[in-house]
């Protein structure tokens, strides 16, 4: 049941997916890995859409160099934990939802527990090592993994549904070298809002997901396109069938 305040807040989107769709959003728990460039638009739009429980993870402190893109954090937040800043803003944006902001580094030892009983994982990370760990958990728990990546004016998005689509490692078997990547804030905005759109569609059962398709954004040419992606039968993470490999067969950490 919704309060009068909630009915008013969500009125314009319940015109799209009804009170039933809104109820699904309210009951949902979404895990957002990262409160940075992608995590900012993702968490803001999921919060205002009324996703009932949002867990957002980050281990960093707000730095001045973050502010061109990480719109959850303001100038006054420099030096503050990103989780504290994120919790405050998201709770102000929507007081009717639950925000769990957890200040921790995601690693192989804690990732499964952190994701817990979430209904989906949003990839707002800046490195493939952690993305692969999240991908493994999504496969183990058979929950969707909403992948996004940005660099400069370029970005990529896809929605991974274990058992239905390729997993992240089917698509990108090897991580690129880490770097201090150039980026403009709008690229994070474009890619992050597409990820949020995917989450909202998934939870409400609306439209077609970005499944089996890699959406590629070129902001220099203002051009978007898709590449069809396929499962890899020799995938290290899922054997191409969306199921976990047996422990003994895995050779990554």
């Amino acid at each position: 049941m919704f309060s009068l305040r909630e009915l008013e807040r969500y009125k314009r989107q319940m015109m799209l997916f009804g009170e039933e769709g809104q109820e699904r959003l309210k009951k949902a728990h979404i895990f957002i890995a990262g409160a940075g460039g992608l995590g900012s638009p993702v968490s803001i739009y999921l919060a205002v859409a009324g996703v009932g429980t949002i867990t957002i993870i980050d281990m960093d402190v707000v730095d001045g160099t973050n502010l061109n893109r990480q719109i959850l954090h303001y100038d006054r937040d420099i030096g503050r934990k990103k989780t504290a800043s994120a919790e405050e803003k998201l709770q102000e944006l929507n007081p009717d939802i639950i925000i769990n902001a957890i200040d921790v580094m995601i690693d192989a030892s804690n990732v499964k527990k952190l994701v817990g009983n979430s209904d989906g994982i949003v990839d707002a990370m800046d490195n493939y090592q952690t993305r692969y760990q999240l991908n493994d958990v999504a496969i183990a728990k058979q929950i969707p993994f909403f992948h996004g990546g940005i660099r400069g004016f370029y970005g990529q998005v896809t929605t991974i549904i274990p058992g239905t689509t390729p997993c992240l490692k089917c698509i990108f078997p090897k991580a690129p070298p880490t770097e201090e990547f150039p980026v403009v804030g709008v690229t994070a905005g474009i890619i992050g809002t597409i990820q949020s759109n995917e989450v909202i569609k998934y939870l409400t059962g609306t439209g077609d997901l970005l499944a089996n398709r890699l959406f590629i954004w070129d902001g220099i040419q203002a051009h978007a396109e898709e590449i069809c992606i396929e499962r890899n039968p020799s995938c290290e993470a899922c054997d191409g069938n969306g199921k976990m490999k047996k422990a003994g067969k895995r050779n990554d950490s």
């Binding site: 990262g34 940075g36 460039g37 992608l38 995590g39 990839d123 707002a124 990370m125 800046d126 490195n127 493939y128 996004g148 990546g149 940005i150 660099r151 400069g152 370029y154 970005g155 990529q156 698509i171 990108f172 078997p173 090897k174 991580a175 690129p176 070298p177 880490t178 770097e179 990547f181 980026v183 994070a188 590629i216 070129d218 220099i220 040419q221 590449i227 069809c228 396929e230 890899n232």
Partner: protein
Amino acid sequence: MTVKIRFFAQFRELLGSDIITDAPAGTMFTSLITSVARKNPEGYAAIFDKNGAFYEFVILMKNGKRIDIADADKTVIADGDEIAVFPPVAGG
């Protein structure tokens, strides 16, 4: 024969987006990309390692189908083929 090569993301910044190029019949995937990438040393260095092999993270496609890096030097290019070469975009 004429083939089209599409680079993405930072490869595109360095080498251009849609490259139509002539290549002799029987050209292999690796040698085609090598010759096009050589036009910009920085572009070449982003895609190939010191031994001239594709970096293991580079994604290769021919006519929408994935080509394994291990198979790229024995994959023959045909007239009208469309090649895509791209990196995983990593930032967040």
